[in-house]
C-alpha cells in the first residue's frame, strides 16, 4: 500500500524530572485509515497523544501534519489545521444546550456562514442520534449520551485527523456497538487515531495497531501482524485475552 | 541627625512594623495554606482586635497594664470565635468554592466594618500603653578622638515598641512549635495535604477548618492588640494591614510559612525605611505594582520553588 501519511511523529520523547514517559517514538497515521494505539496502563499513551495534539510540550522530537512541521504550534492552531481531539474524561460545555455544544465545535470553521453552520450542526446531531435532544442542557444528559456528544463535537469539526482518547470507556455493550458502527462509517472520510482499552473495538475497527509499552513502541503493524507478535503477546495481549 | 542614626531609627521602626505584619500575614497564610481560602475580611479581624482592645481596657479601667493584659488574652480568643462562627455559618455552606468564598468574605468585610461604624463610631481612639519608657540609644563614630559612643538627640525607642518585637518573636516561636511538634500541627498539615484523605482517616476536617479560620483571625487580632497603643483604633484601619499582608503572603509564596516570615521582615523593614526617606504614596505605588508583577511572572512567590 502506498498510503500517504497525514500525520507523522519522529523521535517524540517526554521526560518528567528524570522519569521517561515516552522515548524516541516514531509513528504515523496513514490517510483515511484507522490506527489504534494500545498498551497497558502507564505505557505512555496519554503523554504521546498529548504531544501530538499540542497539550504537552515534548522534551524533544517533532510532529508533522500533511508534510508541514507543526511541532512549534500551540494546540488550538493544530486543531485549526484540521485535527480534532476527544478527551479521555468527558469534556463538554455542561451549561450549554446539546445544539450549542456541537455548534461551537462546527463554528470554528463555519461561524461566518450561518446557513452552513446550522446545517452542519443538525447533520452531525442526526448522524449521532442526538437530534431529538438538541434542546437539552448538556450537563443533564446521561453519561453515555455525554460521551456521544463529545464524539459529535469532534465530528462537527470536520477533522482530517480525528483523535479519540478512550472513547468507549464506561459505555454499555450496545453503546459500544453503536460506536463501532459509527467509526466504521467514518473510514475513508477521515483519518482516525483511536486510543483504546477495549480490544473488541480495536480488532473490529483498526487497520493498523501500534503497541506502546513502558514509553516505547513495542510493535506496529496490521492487526494480524500484531496478533502473531510474540513480544506483544507476552507484554500485553496475552494477559487481557486470558482475563 | 546624621544618616547612620537616622537609618537605625528607621530600621527599628521597620522592625516594629514587621513584628505586627508577620502576625497578621501569618494568619492569612495559614488560612490560605490549610483551607485554600483567600480571606478578604482578614483586615477586619485585625480592626476588630484593636477595637475590642479599646473596649476591654476602657471597661476595666485601673492601671493600663491590667486592661492591656486582659485584652491581650481575651481579644484574640473572642475574635477567633467570631471568625470560626463566620466560617461555620457562611464559608462552610458555600463549600469553600474559590469564587463564592471570596465574594462571601467581601460581604463579611463590609458587615464587620459597617457594624463597627454603627456601634463604635467613626472616631479614632487610643489605648494607653502598659509601659512606655523612652530609651535613648547610643550611636558611635570614629572621630578625631578615635572610637566614640554618644547619644544623638532623637535616637530613641520606647520600651513598649521593644516589647512588641519580643512578643511577636515569642508568638511566632510558639506557633512554629505547635505546628511542627504537636498533634494539632500534624492534623493541620494532614488536612492541608489532602483534605479528602484526612477525612477518611477520621480527621474532622470541618472542625479543623473552623479552628484554622479562627486561629488566622486570632493572630491578626493579636497583632492589632499589640499595635493599638502605638496606632489608634479606627473602623477603617483594616485596609492597610490587609493589603500589606497580601503582599507579604504573595512575595513569600502562597501558603509557605517560612516564606511569609522572611517576606514580612523584608516588607516591614523596607516599608519603615522607605517611608522615612521617600514619599509614602510613591513607595506604595511601586510596592503594589511590583507585587502584582510578582504574581504575574512568579506566581509561586519570590521565595517559593517553581512547580514545573
Amino acid at each position: 500500500m502506498a498510503a500517504v501519511n497525514v500525520l507523522e511523529a519522529k523521535g517524540l520523547t517526554k521526560i518528567y524530572g528524570g522519569l521517561e514517559a515516552n522515548v524516541d517514538i516514531d509513528f504515523q497515521l496513514p490517510e483515511g485509515e484507522i490506527t489504534a494505539l494500545i498498551g497497558p496502563n502507564g505505557a505512555g499513551k496519554s503523554t504521546l497523544v498529548g504531544m501530538v495534539v499540542g497539550r504537552i510540550l515534548p522534551t524533544r522530537g517533532s510532529v508533522s501534519f500533511e508534510g508541514a512541521d507543526i511541532s512549534h504550534l500551540p494546540a488550538h492552531q493544530r486543531m485549526q489545521l484540521g485535527m480534532a481531539y476527544t478527551f479521555q474524561i468527558t469534556s463538554i460545555f455542561p451549561g450549554l444546550s446539546v445544539y450549542d455544544n456541537v455548534a461551537l465545535a462546527a463554528g470554528q470553521k463555519l461561524a461566518g456562514d450561518k446557513g452552513a453552520h446550522d446545517q452542519k450542526t443538525r447533520q452531525v446531531l442526526d448522524r449521532i442520534g442526538l437530534a431529538d435532544r438538541h434542546d437539552q442542557t448538556a450537563g443533564d444528559l446521561s453519561y453515555g449520551h455525554q460521551r456521544v456528544l463529545e464524539i459529535a463535537m469532534g465530528l462537527a469539526q470536520d477533522p482530517k485527523v480525528f483523535i479519540l482518547d478512550e472513547p468507549t470507556q464506561g459505555l454499555s455493550e450496545t453503546e459500544v456497538d453503536a460506536f463501532i458502527a459509527l467509526i466504521k462509517s467514518l473510514a475513508g472520510e477521515t483519518t482516525i487515531l483511536l486510543i483504546e482499552h477495549n480490544m473488541r473495538v480495536v480488532t473490529e475497527t483498526a487497520d493498523h495497531i501500534t503497541v506502546l509499552d513502558q514509553g516505547r513502541v513495542l510493535a506496529s503493524g496490521t492487526p494480524e501482524e500484531i496478533r502473531s507478535n510474540a513480544a506483544v503477546q507476552a507484554a500485553y495481549l496475552g494477559t487481557t485475552t486470558d482475563a | 541627625m546624621d544618616f547612620g542614626p537616622h537609618l537605625m531609627l528607621a530600621s527599628l521602626e521597620g522592625a516594629v512594623i514587621s513584628a505586627i505584619l508577620v502576625l497578621t500575614a501569618m494568619g492569612l497564610s495559614i488560612v490560605f495554606g490549610v483551607m485554600r481560602v483567600v480571606n478578604v475580611a482578614h483586615g477586619e479581624f485585625f480592626m476588630l482586635g484593636a477595637v475590642f482592645a479599646w473596649v476591654v481596657t476602657t471597661t476595666l479601667g485601673g492601671h493600663p497594664a491590667i486592661g492591656f493584659l486582659a485584652a491581650l488574652i481575651t481579644v484574640p480568643i473572642l475574635v477567633g470565635c467570631i471568625a470560626a462562627g463566620a466560617d461555620r455559618l457562611i464559608l462552610k455552606r458555600v463549600n469553600y468554592d474559590p469564587d463564592r468564598t471570596i465574594v462571601a468574605t467581601i460581604g463579611i468585610l463590609y458587615i464587620i466594618q459597617q457594624t463597627t461604624l454603627m456601634t463604635y463610631g467613626p472616631e479614632a481612639r487610643p489605648v494607653e500603653a502598659p509601659f512606655n519608657t523612652r530609651l535613648s540609644l547610643p550611636w558611635f563614630e570614629f572621630g578625631e578622638n578615635g572610637f566614640e559612643i554618644f547619644w544623638p538627640w532623637g535616637l530613641s525607642i520606647t520600651s513598649y515598641k521593644l516589647f512588641v518585637i519580643v512578643a511577636a518573636i515569642v508568638v511566632l516561636t510558639t506557633l512554629w512549635l505547635v505546628l511542627t511538634r504537636t498533634k494539632i500541627g500534624l492534623i493541620m498539615r494532614a488536612t492541608q495535604q489532602d483534605s479528602d484523605t484526612a477525612q477518611a482517616f477520621g480527621i474532622p476536617v470541618g472542625k479543623v477548618y473552623s479552628w484554622v479560620f479562627g486561629l488566622g483571625a486570632g493572630l491578626a487580632a493579636l497583632g492589632a492588640v499589640l499595635v493599638v497603643p502605638i496606632q489608634q483604633a479606627h473602623y477603617l484601619m483594616g485596609g492597610d494591614p490587609l493589603l500589606l499582608a497580601f503582599i507579604v503572603v504573595i512575595i513569600g509564596g502562597l501558603g509557605s510559612l517560612p516564606g511569609t516570615v522572611i517576606a514580612a521582615l523584608l516588607i516591614g523593614m523596607s516599608d519603615g525605611i522607605i517611608s522615612v526617606f521617600f514619599s509614602p504614596t510613591l513607595a506604595k505605588i511601586i510596592a503594589t505594582f511590583l507585587v502584582a508583577m510578582v504574581l504575574v511572572f512568579r506566581p509561586q512567590g519570590l521565595l517559593g520553588k517553581s512547580v514545573a
Binding site: 495534539v53 488550538h76 469534556s91 460545555f93 455548534a103 470554528q108 | 463590609y110 458587615i111 504614596t281 502584582a292
Partner: protein, 314 residues
C-alpha cells in the same frame, strides 16, 4: 415566538419602559434613574467579563476611573470639547484594559482576582500621586459651561436623563447582540470549559483578552458618562469599593444574563439610597446582600427567574 424574538421583544420593552419612566416618575427618581442607567453600563461591562467569560476581576474601578479621568482631564487639562474628551475616556479605558489583560491573563482564578485588585490599587494611588492635576480624593468639578454637546446643555434634568438613556440603550443592545454572535458564544464556552474550547481550535487567550478590552471599554464609557452628566471627577471612584459594586450588582441581578446588571443596579441603588437616610453605615447592606446572595441565590434575580420561570431569558 422564537427564543431570539422573545429576547428582542424583552429588550425593546425594557427600553420603552425606561423611556416612559421619565414622564411618570417624580423629579428625584428621574435623577436617580439617570444615575442608574449610567452605572448599569458599568455593570454590563463587568458582566461581559464575569458573567459570560467567567473571569472575576476585583479591579474594574480602574477602567471606570480611566474613562472618567480620560474625559475629565481631557476637558480640564487638554481643553477638549465633549466629544473628543469622551472618546479619550473610552480609549484610555480600553488601552488600560489591553495592558492589564496582557499581564493579568497570564494568571487564573484567585491570582487573577488579586492581580486585578493590585493593579486597580496602583491606579488609585497614581491618581492620588498626581494630585496636582487630579485633585486627589477631593476631585474636581467640570463646569456646566463645558458640558455642552452640539449646543445641548447636558446639565438639565431632561437632557441628562435622555443622554443617559441613549448611552444605556446603545450599550444594552450592543451587549445583547454581542452575546448572540459567535464571539459571545465562544466567551461562554470559555466560561464553561476553557480547555475544551481550546481543543476545538479557539485561541482562548485572545478571546479572554478581547473580552477584557470590551468590558473595560464599557466601564470607560460609564466612567466618562458619569463625569459628563454629573460633572464630578474624583479618586473615590477608583477605590476598591467601586470595584466591588459591579460585582454586587451583577451577582444580585444575575450574572450571565442581559437584564441582570440593570436589575441589580436598580435594587442596590434604592437599597443603599433608602438605608443611607437612616445610617452612615449603608455599606452594611452591601455586605449582607453579598453574603445572602452567595449563600442562597448564587444565580441572582434574573438567573433564578430563568431557571424557574422563563428558560428563554437571554
Amino acid at each position: 415566538m422564537s427564543k431570539a424574538a422573545k429576547s428582542n421583544a424583552l429588550h425593546l420593552a425594557i427600553l420603552a419602559l425606561l423611556f416612559a419612566l421619565f414622564f411618570v416618575l417624580p423629579a428625584y427618581h428621574v435623577g436617580a434613574f439617570s444615575r442608574i442607567m449610567v452605572l448599569a453600563i458599568y455593570a454590563m461591562g463587568f458582566n461581559l467579563l464575569f458573567g459570560y467569560t467567567g473571569l472575576l476581576s476585583l479591579g474594574h474601578a480602574m477602567f471606570f476611573a480611566a474613562g472618567m479621568y480620560g474625559f475629565g482631564l481631557g476637558i480640564s487639562q487638554a481643553g477638549f470639547s465633549v466629544a473628543p474628551a469622551f472618546l479619550t475616556g473610552i480609549i484610555a479605558a480600553s488601552v488600560l484594559a489591553l495592558v492589564v489583560g496582557y499581564l493579568a491573563l497570564r494568571t487564573a482564578g484567585v491570582a487573577f482576582m488579586i492581580v486585578t485588585l493590585m493593579f486597580a490599587q496602583t491606579v488609585y494611588l497614581v491618581i492620588l500621586y498626581f494630585g496636582e492635576y487630579t485633585r486627589g480624593d477631593e476631585g474636581f468639578v467640570i463646569q456646566s459651561a463645558q458640558r455642552v454637546f452640539f449646543g445641548i446643555d447636558l446639565t438639565t434634568e431632561t437632557a441628562r436623563y435622555f443622554t443617559a438613556f441613549v448611552l444605556f440603550a446603545i450599550c444594552f443592545l450592543w451587549a445583547a447582540k454581542l452575546i448572540q454572535m459567535p464571539f459571545g458564544k465562544r466567551l461562554v464556552a470559555i466560561r464553561e470549559n476553557e480547555e475544551r474550547a481550546r481543543m476545538l481550535g479557539y485561541h482562548t487567550d485572545s478571546y479572554k483578552l478581547r473580552a477584557l478590552v470590551v468590558s473595560g471599554a464599557f466601564s470607560g464609557i460609564a466612567g466618562a458618562s458619569y463625569a459628563l452628566l454629573f460633572g464630578y471627577v474624583g479618586a473615590s471612584f477608583s477605590t476598591v469599593q467601586y470595584s466591588i459594586f459591579p460585582l454586587l450588582w451583577v451577582l444580585l441581578g444575575g450574572a450571565g444574563t442581559t437584564i441582570g446588571p440593570l436589575i441589580g443596579v436598580i435594587f442596590m441603588f434604592y437599597l443603599i439610597d433608602i438605608s443611607s437616610s437612616y445610617t452612615t453605615a449603608y455599606m452594611l447592606i452591601a455586605g449582607v446582600v453579598l453574603v445572602l446572595l452567595t449563600l442562597f441565590a448564587p444565580q441572582g434575580l434574573a438567573g433564578t427567574l430563568r431557571k424557574r420561570v422563563f428558560p428563554w431569558l437571554p
